[in-house]
């Protein structure tokens, strides 16, 4: 069976800086795949190449068809991208953020969906009318995740969900991601600097180094491999 998302030989650049050099990776349906690596290795760019927010060459296929166009078409195709540094509309209320998450869907009545995501984040209903900018960093990251779920995506892409958050909150977020995957079969592509928690969550991982895939394999293997751990993962 072919993967839900596949990148083949993807290159991307920002002006003179080549950020991705022939990256190939696969995200099988129903799995969590992690992309690891140091700062500037091209992790974020990998996600941006998928969502069409950076110019790229190479082939990206999603659900058996080539993925083309800008972020609007990618969102419509069923990919929810939670960008680095939260991804909320800080001036809009919590519930408006959630409604925007469902923008690509046709349903007008979103109450059922809001209730559904509120099961994961029980604080949402009571703060529904608060501007997202008044939430704490952890809550904003959770709101960004909740908003992505409102789209009922086939693929969820998370960019550094741990960034700037307390370890307890990071564990909570990864627990929810894992449960979403186990319970609802949600496919996840997560980019993360915190290799330890990412490897604990993902089934497969890719380690990027200066825009190339340096190592890839099942998370368990990467975790056990001391030389990989020491040279790429830093623990």
């Amino acid at each position: 069976m072919s993967a839900l998302l596949g990148l083949r030989d993807v290159n991307a650049r920002y002006g003179p800086v080549q950020a991705l050099r022939g990256v190939s990776l696969e995200v099988p349906e129903g799995e969590i795949v992690a992309v690891l690596g140091a700062n500037g290795a091209g992790k974020t760019t990998t996600l941006r190449a998928v969502s069409g927010t950076v110019r790229r060459t190479g082939t990206i296929t999603f659900a058996g068809a080539p993925l083309r166009g800008g972020p609007e078409s990618v969102a419509k195709a069923g990919i929810a991208h939670v960008p680095e540094g939260r991804g909320t509309f800080t001036e809009l209320s919590v519930v408006e953020n959630l409604r925007l998450g469902a923008y690509t869907r046709r349903e007008r009545d979103l109450r059922g969906d809001i209730d559904r995501v509120s099961e994961w984040f029980p604080w949402i209903p009571e703060r529904a009318d608060q501007p997202a900018g008044t939430l704490s960093g952890g809550e904003q990251q959770m709101l960004a995740l909740a908003r992505a779920l409102m789209a009922r995506p086939r693929l969820l892409m998370l960019d550094e969900p741990s960034l700037g958050l307390a370890p307890m909150i990071v564990r909570e977020i990864f627990r929810i991601v894992r449960e979403l995957n186990e319970r609802d079969g949600l496919t996840v592509l997560v980019v993360e600097q915190d290799a330890r928690i990412a490897l604990d969550t993902a089934s497969t991982a890719y380690v990027l180094e200066v825009g190339k895939v340096a190592v890839e394999g099942p998370s368990a293997e990467l975790r056990e491999n001391e030389s990989v751990r020491r040279s790429y993962l830093g623990y």
Binding site: K76, F89, Y103
Partner: protein, 294 residues
Amino acid sequence: MADFMQQVVAGLASGSIYASLALALVLIHRATGVINFAQGEMATLSTYLAWTLTTNHGWSYWPAFVVTLLVSFFGGAAVHQGVVRPNEKGSLLRVVIVTIGLLLLINGAVTMIWSGEVRAVQSPFPTRTVEIGGVAISIQDIGTIGVVLGTMVLLWLLFQRTKVGLAMRAAAVNPAEARLVGVRVTWMLSLGWGLAAVLGAISGMLAAPSVFLDPNLMAAILIYAFAAAVLGGIDSPVGAIVGGLTLGVGLNLLGTYVDFVGADLRLPGALLVILVVLLVKPSGIFGKREVKRV
């Protein structure tokens, strides 16, 4: 007292005209981050269209009004797509200069088509007055206030209660993020320019009956609208409305009760408001202070 109330209502009527154009400026500033200097001229063009439909083609007022609003909407959106958007890639200054160019272009075109002659425009409202609690109030003032308030309510419903309104707000506050959730940001911005043109057209058509129509119809009103928008906070729609009404009433009362402030000093009064607000509280009454992180 009766005279005072009369002046207040008259002030609210001119204030609502300022408010409408101020709201147009605010909409565009929120969406595109620039002041559209051509907003007034676009409104003048719309007003001439309405005038032509009623005077030369025998349309009655309200159908001409509605058709003008529709044409203005598509005109505004077209200006965004055709003129503003191609220049958005550069600096904001470039867009500002483009709008100034547009101002000159439209002004020239209007003068060429309709000549500089001053035209009388019929009012959709009777010029009679009605007595309310001993105060004689002109029906035209009430009608003007009513049309603008009605428009504001409709706009509020659009932005707060509809999916497209929410998408427009999202596109304005965070375009990159909006694209990620699937919002076609450019279309939303064009929609915003279209709505702004509609607001300008309303402002122009309501102003024309009392100040007559000529190619510079909106030149002064644009200054009042700037003052109103600055007073309320350039990014605050509520501020634009409150600012417009405050300015209208304030200038009218000053002109009536302070001897040396005649009609001639109204415009400098508005400029003074801009100056003082920018010096004392640049964010205006309702604006948020912009904090730039480095």
